[in-house]
Symmetry: C2
Subunit: 336 residues, 2 copies
Amino acid sequence: MRQNVTVKTLAKELNISIGTVSKALNDSYEISIDTKQKVLELAKKLKYERNPAASNLRSQKTKTIAVIIPQIANNFFSLAINGIEEIARKRGYHVLIYLTHENSETETAFTESLLSGRVDGILISVSSSTENLEHFRELVKKIPLVFFDRSIEDIDAIKITADDYESTYDATVHLINNGCKKIAYLYALNCLNTGKRRIAGYRDALKDHQLESGENLIVNHNSDEDLNYENIKNLIVNQKPDGVISSIEELALPCYYVCNELGLKIPNDLKIISFSNLSTAPLLNPSLSTITQPAFEIGREAAGFLFKILDKKPFDMDEIPKLKSTLIKRDSTGPL
Amino acid sequence: MRQNVTVKTLAKELNISIGTVSKALNDSYEISIDTKQKVLELAKKLKYERNPAASNLRSQKTKTIAVIIPQIANNFFSLAINGIEEIARKRGYHVLIYLTHENSETETAFTESLLSGRVDGILISVSSSTENLEHFRELVKKIPLVFFDRSIEDIDAIKITADDYESTYDATVHLINNGCKKIAYLYALNCLNTGKRRIAGYRDALKDHQLESGENLIVNHNSDEDLNYENIKNLIVNQKPDGVISSIEELALPCYYVCNELGLKIPNDLKIISFSNLSTAPLLNPSLSTITQPAFEIGREAAGFLFKILDKKPFDMDEIPKLKSTLIKRDSTGPL
DNA sequence: TTTATTTACGAATACGTTTTAGTAAAACGC
DNA sequence: GCGTTTTACTAAAACGTATTCGTAAATAAA
């Protein structure tokens, strides 16, 4: 399917050179208003569409960004993409999606392949199993890249995140204020900044309130869902916590199922709060208290900063916002 | 950021021609095994990555497909993308995402711009406001395109859908069997095949069981959420239905809120069933009975057929599957 | 008027790849 | 042995655009 109408077509039709057409289409100052109009008119009439491949090749720009995320069937990432797309579209950029499925090798393969010049920049929320630190260190030197939500330690790149530490701290305090004495933590993203900051908020809140802590109150997230269920069940049965903080949405729902199975009443027997962007949180039985990240905003900001880099606009590192999560108190942490 | 290592680099290093290198990389029969090995080795060593723009330009193929969907913060579409991505990745294809936000003009603009050769094919689930029938008729002539879930009447293209008619019929019967005498319908996608088939299933089921029907039992979906809420509330207050079928997930949740507000008990006062891929349906209060579409499968199948077209593999129209939705009975339609 | 500057354009090249056409050399057939 | 085919390669053109450099004409400055 060869392209039917190209700059050549337009040039021939108007009896001007190809270069002139190209410049006219790009609104170059070298071209008279008259000529520009003629070209634009004909282009519209013949439905000329610039060939992206040729344009990319010549200009070494693609007007395309890549979004690399662990999963997409997840409200947080869906919303973030929404934010990214909004900004990208305003700029006339195209958005490529890559799903790592939380797999570190897949992630590396994607980023490697993107170095060929397929995209102008990358937005990435790294996979939970990421251990390829060196890889990322090299990567950010080679291509404009912005991390969002899930990022990596000690790496010189822009990271758009929410207030993971503070919000987890506040959530823990919320449980404490509502009477919890023994608060368990469902620990995910433990390789990442994100995960470490969250658990730090939990730990510090416990310490500040002289509450029991310890490794046996912590359940590590596993990629096997059934195992997560078992681990949570064991935690609840053996440790009998009266509160649970889930650092990711995926671990909160198993808690509900475990309580159903064990005949425990939420919030009376166990209070639950979770990081979550679930739209149905208010409708759960009981409604789920959440730490809700500004997913859409995170996407927008990340895209915004990527474009600042692409535009070579100078900016201060302290312009980078730390977005605020919202603590939404519902029945799952309600008073007895 | 000019590319550092190209076919030229490899050719010079190995003292062979550019053409030979290119052919070796493409595993051409014209090249000896010896040479191929040398080239591949060096390519790997120097981390050569083929320049996509140049490759696309010359070969007129992009190894990229576009996915055009109305929204992404929606379980159905997220899951479908998952399916699409799986197939695309297996084939080494890249996936561009375009969100129409249910806007017909945006949709048209996207598809128009994709005719420039940016992608090899398109997967689309059309926006609910689509009225640009002619546009699509022209479009499918110009580029390989597969509709999924939401499609358009009388158009000669592959459409991957679920059994909309049958599943709505069955859901209606399910309500009837559970004692409903007056069943309302929340009508969405009324411009599309999808919507029409769903409501037909509802209407036929009512007719077959000699139950009351009529326009005042039907609420049309609106893009304004608040208005939807009001309309549903009015329906429930004025018509006092004992059952509701929601043709999209977005209208089921307002039902819950309305019942909460009016103090109606689900399922005793009102039974609800909805098209939905919500993972939290079992945890709602009460758990929501759903018609669950095989979203992931739909994505896979759609991508699969697009690739069949791209491969110019011949196939019969009756190979195109109509995928089965699952009727999941939960408490919201439970017996009194 | 003469010279300098600006305006508006064209010719040509480059981007990096793929592919066509052509061709020595090797292998084969008889 | 000679002619034919096959093998393995090269040179060159093409994909469609963007950009550099050059220049004739128009305008401004002197």
